[in-house]
């Protein structure tokens, strides 16, 4: 970072949206600067106004928005007051955007090369010696797209999500901009793809030296890429600090809560109180907007407006109590009540040699179509009573398919699934009422799993009406108890799903499962649709429920941090095959399966140093005869990986790893990566 005048200076930006007949203020005096070559991160929960700020740097707002004050200076010119032709000459040229969702942001009917050529034709290539076509290829090369000479002829839909985002980045860089605005550029992507994109951005910044404004809801991502971070809450900038300072000594209670809610891989170390409650726009006090959710608030917080004030070198915070909070800040919150699972007991669920495949869609298609390759193959695992077994893997690894098979949505092609010692019929309609009652499924997205036209009480009551109350209670009493179990007030029974927040909806879905008094709960990515702060409270709920009700959980997740906090045992899945199975602590410690190792390294903020070669994209098509990870594996042992199915190797702890490399060699790989930036 060079000293000198900042590239971007946002001063006291006030902005309002038209809401019915009113103007609703969404930005309140937002101020920050971005230096030459600096990466500034803007973080906050959805709806805090961070994207609105970002788009002002491009001079863009929706027709229903109005600037009510402030300036947005880019190289000394106020972007808020430029005419459309003036803006057109800057956009895509000096200031460029990398959008959140490249799938919808790239023009669907235009080849990607043309879309970049369009920018070059408009503003002229930065280096005048080079033709537009050459520049396009150079850009594709720069962002690491395969076959840069040919990929320009593709349409957006012919590229993967990661490739589309690379095209969008290439488009942004076409004219060598001074500033790149990135609006949640990795949000829709897989964790490994996200890692690759972050790696690309880091190396591009090293080579090109542009400034970046990186907008995200994920603090973990910023740890890896930002020089400084601004934390926004409800349209206010509440804290600005260098990245290491923010992670080491956050001052604002909201920033602390955000940091504490961040799932972490390692369980040790200090941990603050996670965030509670939700941002409610209709209920903001005149003073500090965070006051209703703040544990450290005093009465005057609600009345007096908070302004950013210096709290150290380059560090500003908008909280009247920050000096007094300092000492009490870090507390240790550790739940040490992990149930010790008696593994000797007969398993509740046993999956034996199961292959799963999806049939061709239409009924007549089955006569013509050859049978598809299995999505899951040779699956073996067992879950003991009261145990929480987690299945982890990237999207497409088949983990949800397994849950679907256990629930009876699809029948196994071969093998059997045993529930409480009895073989389960493949499809749900062949199962007994008792079996249907005892296995309950909770879906990823409560928006979709609750009938929007039914009240919560009716939704929860239905299983009880159908199965009959096992404990003889009345339906109303059963609903009340189920609501109480998920810590919702009885008044929620009268609400429709759209009157509930995401977390409340997921609680209703859990209550619907609990009212059937199940033995086994299938949790399919049930946290991934929720905000970080809500995730923490649902994890807490699950921990309590399984303790009190002695539930057996099959927990499916791509989020290793969550798994670490919740699971007793873990199975790591890659392309439909189990790669590693063992107790949670053993999974997160050496020896690692090479794939598990890659997964752990890909968690944002988990890497020791930047610059590691990222894992390539998962191959498509049917896997070959050898190890399914062969070809993508960074430590491949030799030709046997391509040709032979690897053996299971069992460690003393009971950890099982399926790999050609012996355990003692796998044990020599680096230990669990820790978050250097997170623990100063």
């Amino acid at each position: 970072m060079s000293e000198g005048p900042p590239l971007v200076e946002v001063q006291g930006l006030d902005l309002a949206y038209r809401h019915r007949d009113d103007w609703l203020r969404v930005l309140h005096g937002v101020s920050f600067t971005i230096g030459q070559g600096e990466t500034f991160g803007l973080v906050g929960e959805s709806g805090c106004g961070k994207s609105t700020v970002a788009y002002q740097l491009l001079g863009y707002r929706r027709p229903n928005a109005r600037v009510e004050g402030g300036k947005v200076l880019f190289q000394g010119r106020d972007m808020l007051r430029l005419s459309r032709p003036e803006l057109d000459s800057l956009r895509g040229n000096r200031v460029a955007l990398v959008p959140q969702n490249p799938t919808t942001a790239l023009s669907p009917g235009m080849r990607v090369g043309e879309q970049i050529a369009e920018v070059l034709a408009l503003h002229g290539p930065p280096d005048h010696g080079i033709a537009a076509a050459g520049r396009t290829v150079e850009l594709f090369h720069l962002v690491g797209l395969p076959a840069p000479e040919r990929i320009g002829r593709r349409y957006p839909h012919q590229l993967s999500g990661g490739q589309q985002q690379r095209v969008a980045i290439a488009m942004a860089l076409a004219c060598d901009p001074a500033l790149v605005v990135l609006d949640e550029p990795t949000t829709g992507l897989d964790v490994t793809t996200q890692e690759q994109i972050l790696e690309l951005l880091r190396s591009l910044r090293r080579r090109l030296g542009m400034s970046m404004l990186y907008v995200t809801h994920d603090l973990g991502v910023l740890a890896e890429i930002a020089d400084r971070i601004g934390v926004m809450y409800a349209g206010h900038m509440v804290e600005v600090a260098p990245t290491s300072v923010l992670f080491g000594a956050p001052r604002h209670p909201y920033a602390r809560g955000l940091l504490a809610s961040l799932p972490r891989i390692e369980e040790t170390g200090p941990r603050g109180r996670p965030l509670r409650g939700l941002l409610r726009r209709d209920d903001l006090p005149a003073g500090c907007p965070f006051q209703p959710r703040c544990d450290d608030a005093e009465p005057s917080c609600a009345i007096s407006a908070q302004r950013l004030e210096p709290a150290g070198p380059g560090h500003e915070v908008a909280c009247q109590r920050w000096r007094r909070l300092d000492a009490a800040a870090i507390e240790t919150a550790r739940d040490g009540t992990r149930p010790v699972t008696p593994l000797g007991e007969a398993p509740v669920l046993a999956v034996k040699g199961v292959d799963l495949r999806y049939d061709a869609a239409a009924w007549w298609g089955r006569w013509f179509a050859a049978s598809t390759p299995p999505v899951v193959s040779g699956l073996d695992f067992a879950v003991a009573a009261g145990e929480t077994f987690a299945l982890v893997g990237e999207s497409g690894s088949g983990k949800s398919t397994i849950a679907r098979a256990i629930s009876g949505m699809i029948a196994p092609a071969t093998g059997s699934i045993l529930f409480q010692g009895e073989k389960l019929p493949g499809l749900v309609r062949a199962r007994t009422t008792e079996q249907r009652r005892r296995i309950q499924y909770i879906f990823q997205n409560p928006d979709a799993s609750l009938n929007p036209r039914a009240r919560a009480g009716k939704i929860i009551a239905r299983p009880l009406e159908l199965f009959g109350a096992a404990s003889g209670a009345s339906v109303a009493a059963g609903v009340a108890r189920a609501l109480d179990e998920v810590r919702l007030d009885a008044g929620f029974a009268a609400r429709y799903p759209d009157q509930l927040s995401g977390g409340e909806r997921q609680r209703v879905a859990i209550a619907r499962a609990l009212i059937a008094e199940p033995t086994l709960l299938l949790c399919d990515e049930i946290l991934s649709a929720l905000d970080v702060s809500v995730q923490a409270s649902i994890i807490e709920l699950l921990r309590r429920l399984r303790r009190e009700l002695r539930l057996t959980l099959l927990f499916i997740s791509h989020d290793l941090a969550v798994v670490r906090h919740l699971a007793d045992r873990v199975g790591v899945l890659y392309r439909g095959r189990l790669m590693e199975v063992g107790r949670v602590d053993d999974i997160f410690a050496p020896p690692f399966h090479p794939y598990t190792h890659e997964l752990l390294m890909a968690v944002p903020g988990a890497r020791k140093e930047a610059g590691r070669a990222a894992l390539g994209p998962a191959p498509s098509g049917a896997p070959g005869k050898g190890c399914v990870f062969a070809g993508r594996c960074p430590v491949q042992a030799g030709p046997q990986c391509e040709n032979e199915t690897p053996p299971w190797r069992t460690a003393e702890s009971g950890l099982k790893i399926r790999c050609h490399i012996p355990l003692n060699e796998l044990g020599q790989r680096p230990p669990t990566p820790n978050r250097e930036v997170l623990s100063p």
């Binding site: 895509g92 009917g109 408009l122």
Partner: protein, 316 residues
């Protein structure tokens, strides 16, 4: 490859539908309970006349045999003979279809600018007074039945400003000018009815595309409003447009029935109404079959167009 398979599948599906249509028409007209001959001739028919008709239609054969015989004829382009005039139906249909095609082409010519211009004006001036005004006009026009619209135009251009003929009779001796004069009012009626639908759909499609993220992205790349509209918005709004036009072609087949009748234009539609009034069964069957074929053909063309225009199905 995928494209080819989709196209073949779509064509086959259309043929199946067409076959089913022929079966349905036959079922509705000939197999429904009650005697066909007495339904045609009415209650007062004498037994002798009934018997003659029955023999002429070969009604004593089983329904399946009659259907297959009729279908075989249709497949060879032979629709049989009209009951009333005993002329081969092909001869009757020929000039009528020619007249209707002429009328439809004229109507389409008027329809295209009538649909495009207001939709573009509305989409660009979204939620401004001109948009609301045009929306109101199209909604009112949408609610005016075509037979009323035709009558209103007649009051306007025949009664109040007598520039056009009230009755659009033409035959093979008519001059080109007579044809144009005769067809103007019916064509304008059809064009207005079709355009009203197209305007409303086109406006919504255009606005949807203008709201899309890729249009915003184009704007943020520095493209001027004009370039954004021409390069990114319009091409992507084109595919749905095609669909509207096919639907309008389908409407046209129903529309000509009314409009030709109102203006006594000797086309295909008025032939259908006349044959229904005369209960001329073979002619009815032939005209309905042709109407359904045109509808199915129009939809087929629209789907093929959509498949060919869809970049998702085009390869590299």
């Amino acid at each position: 490859m995928i494209v080819l398979r989709l196209l073949v599948g779509r064509v086959l599906l259309s043929l199946v539908t067409l076959l089913l249509v022929s079966l349905l028409i036959f079922l509705i007209l000939e197999v429904l309970p009650g005697d066909v001959a007495s339904r045609i001739l009415g209650r007062d028919a004498t037994p002798e006349v009934l018997a003659t008709l029955r023999a002429q239609l070969q009604l004593d054969d089983p329904a399946a045999v009659r259907y297959l015989r009729w279908l075989a004829g249709v497949l060879q382009g032979d629709f049989g003979k009209a009951l009333t005039s005993s002329r081969p139906i092909g001869q009757i249909l020929g000039p009528r279809i020619f007249n209707t095609i002429l009328l439809s082409a004229y109507a389409f010519l008027i329809y295209i600018p009538l649909a495009l211009v207001p939709a573009l004006i509305q989409a660009v001036n979204r939620d401004r007074p001109i948009d609301h005004a045009l929306s109101t006009v199209t909604l009112v026009l949408l609610s005016v039945p075509d037979f009323l619209l035709a009558t209103l135009l007649m009051i306007g251009f025949v009664v109040m400003i007598p520039v056009l003929p009230a009755i659009s009779l033409v035959d093979d001796t008519s001059t080109v000018w007579q044809y144009v004069r005769a067809m103007t009012l019916p064509a304008v009626t059809l064009a207005i009815v079709m355009a009203v639908y197209a305007v409303r759909m086109l406006r919504d499609n255009l606005i949807e595309v203008l709201d899309s993220e890729y249009v915003r992205m184009a704007e943020l790349k520095g493209l001027s409003p004009r370039l954004v509209l021409l390069r990114h918005a319009l091409p992507n709004a084109l595919v749905p447009t095609l669909n509207v036009t096919a639907l309008n072609l389908a409407y046209l087949i129903g529309g000509v029935v009314i409009v030709e009748k109102v203006f006594s234009y000797p086309g295909f539609g008025s032939l259908l109404v006349d044959s229904l009034q005369l209960r001329d069964l073979p002619v009815i069957e032939a005209t309905v079959m042709i109407a359904a074929s045109v509808y199915i053909g129009a939809n087929l063309l629209a789907d093929i167009g959509a498949i060919l225009l869809n970049p998702r199905l085009r390869s590299g």
